[in-house]
């Protein structure tokens, strides 16, 4: 092309992507070895390779205390979907996840709207609501066990109020799962509050004032202005809650050990480690783990897709 060199060489920022000259191959490799490789190597060894190994095991009957290991094809997977213990853990995990996605999201939004004011009181209360997020799940579990035990604080209070047969929050097989869901919701609520508060602070005041002048009441203003603008906050909260609830393990291990009764609170995460590291049926447990991974990836992917579409459609 016949272009005047003197005029095109001066403004260098016309096409940012292509303007940088590509480095020679040897130099790029050297930089990769120096900057990219160390992190990727550790990630490969401790995350990617273990997933591949898990998948490999899931096709065998591997049990370190019962050799030899044989290739069994998809038998483990076929067995899983007729295994009532696994199906129960799937059901338990689903119930827990649905509650934990909904309760902190709804309550968190309410509390964020409540706290969306200036002043020392509201600053202090924000600190309070966020505190459970920095507590260890083990500490949270032990304290809540002391509160919800048959003779714990809650039932002592109920008895003092005249309730003769207070419920066994953690000992009744029909209740324990819901108690765990509430404990987990309590712990995650602060996260949702903080994310929604940040979203609310991004809603321009002029919009609400303009709507108010046009005669919109508080409910209408919330529905038509605030709520659509909170879409990104809803997305992040829902995805984080979904992933957190789906992999709950600590609370089950500390509070109920999967009981009371058989498997009433045994989540998939709990079941995988029981089968793999306690019963040592590692081939079978690996198949469970792979199914768990597929479900969590699919659920997170679908949720992101649906909620992101909502953000675009504003």
């Amino acid at each position: 092309m016949a272009v005047d060199v003197r005029t095109t060489s001066v403004p260098a920022s016309a096409t940012p992507g292509s303007r940088r000259p590509r480095l020679p191959r040897a130099e790029r490799l050297r930089q990769f070895a120096l900057f990219g490789a160390p992190g990727l190597l550790v990630y490969t060894c401790f995350v990617l390779a273990p997933i591949a190994i898990s998948f490999g095991y899931s096709l065998t009957n591997h049990n370190p205390f019962n050799p030899p290991t044989r290739f069994v094809g998809l038998d483990n997977y076929r067995l899983l979907f007729t295994d009532s213990e696994f199906l129960t853990s799937l059901r338990v995990t689903t119930i827990l996840t649905v509650i934990v996605v909904i309760v902190p999201n709804v309550a968190g939004l309410g509390i964020a709207v409540l706290l969306d004011r200036k002043g020392w009181l509201y600053n202090a209360l924000r600190t309070v609501f966020f505190t459970p997020m920095v507590l260890s799940s083990v500490v949270v579990s032990v304290v809540w066990t002391r509160m919800l035990d048959d003779e714990g604080l809650v039932n002592q209070t109920l008895r003092a109020l005249g309730v003769e047969q207070p419920p066994g929050w953690l000992s009744d097989p029909r209740l324990a799962l819901y108690s765990i869901a509430i404990i987990l919701s309590w712990q995650m609520l602060g996260f949702c509050v903080v994310v929604y508060l940040a979203g609310l602070q991004g809603v321009p005041n002029e919009l609400a004032e303009a709507a108010s002048i046009d005669g919109a009441g508080p409910v209408r203003r919330f529905r038509s202005i605030t709520w659509p603008l909170l879409a990104p906050s809803l997305t992040i909260n829902t995805v984080v809650l979904l992933i957190t609830a789906f992999k709950v393990f600590d609370h089950i291990q500390v509070i109920t050990h999967g009981g009371p009764g058989t498997g009433t609170t045994a989540t998939i995460a709990y079941d995988v480690l029981q089968t793999g590291l306690v019963a040592n049926r590692q081939g079978y447990a690996s198949a469970m783990a792979i199914v768990m991974l597929v479900i969590i990836a699919a659920a997170a992917g679908v949720t992101l897709k649906v909620l992101n579409r909502r953000e675009v459609n504003l």
Binding site: L34, F46, P50, F129, V134, L135, V138, A231, K247
Partner: protein, 276 residues
């Protein structure tokens, strides 16, 4: 907008709800200073008279439960977050500035690591660590932490790097600085807010981590402060004095850390959240 009617309603409702959040924290605080048997009898009462027996008893135990666990937790957390910051900043910078197709593949693989439950990889991890001779060692736990949490670090750093103009680095390159020099002298200092987020969040998560140290350090090889609490419930079913003292001392550092660095916590969380 102003609260037109009932101006007192909002603060009152907010206070009542927050009480629900304070009860468990209150429980830890009053029961640490209470005699063991009173913890089960009257869990909510004020300690009367308050006693330091639980704490002094824990600190002077012959099996060194507290001091050994505390040392392990400090060593593991410190080493893990330093390594994680350095490695994920370098990797994040490399990936953010690379134009290769492979960099995008690597990024995608790393981001999917954000949702992998530890249960999926813990069984093979024990074998990888055994093959390296690092099972039941603190080094093994540190390496695992680095691999498991590096996606979070990379996620935070690459997000932050998008806002830093590449011209700065190009100018330094024209002046003849090497890539390492550019990274450490020009880029890394600019990443300070992202570094703060990574250090704070990973510090708290690793300190509080339960299942990973439980499995990797194994039953006999000492505990971190979190697995120590778990083991002391199992062993001394009735001795809630010890359990509460341990929980109090395990939580105190994180809580102080949080109260001082609150702003960074919130910024770190919402930085990612509001970008959308």
């Amino acid at each position: 907008m102003k609260d037109s009617r009932l101006p007192w309603l909002r603060p009152v409702v907010a206070l009542v709800i927050s009480a629900f959040f304070l009860v468990p924290l209150y429980m830890i605080l009053v029961n640490v200073f209470k005699q063991g048997e009173k913890i089960t009898q009257s869990p909510a009462s004020l300690p009367d008279p308050p006693t330091l027996d639980n704490i002094t008893g824990l600190l002077s135990r012959t099996d060194n439960l507290f001091w050994a666990s505390l040392t392990n937790s400090i060593v593991v957390t410190t080493l893990s977050i330093i390594l994680l910051t350095v490695l994920s900043a370098m990797l994040g910078h490399f990936l953010a500035r690379s134009r290769s197709r492979w960099a995008r593949v690597a990024m995608l693989l790393l981001l999917s690591g954000l949702m992998i439950p530890p249960q999926v990889i813990l069984m093979p991890i024990t074998q990888v660590l055994r093959a390296l001779g690092l099972m039941t060692t603190l080094q093994g736990l540190v390496l695992f932490n680095v691999g498991y949490y590096i996606p979070f670090g990379v996620f935070v750093f690459t997000g932050f790097l998008r806002g830093i103009p590449i011209e700065l680095e190009e100018a330094a390159a024209i002046d003849g600085a090497s890539r390492s020099r550019i990274f450490w002298r020009v880029v890394f200092p600019l990443l300070r807010p992202a570094t703060a987020s990574v250090l704070i969040f990973l510090g708290v998560w690793i300190w509080n981590d339960f299942i990973n140290p439980l499995v990797i350090l194994g039953p006999s090889q000492g505990t971190t402060i979190t697995t120590g609490i778990y083991r002391s419930i199992g062993q001394y079913q009735a001795d809630f004095g010890t359990v509460f003292a341990l929980m109090f001392l395990a939580t105190l550092p994180v809580l102080i850390f949080y109260l001082f660095l609150q702003k960074h916590f919130v910024k770190g969380l919402t930085g990612g959240a509001t970008k959308g």
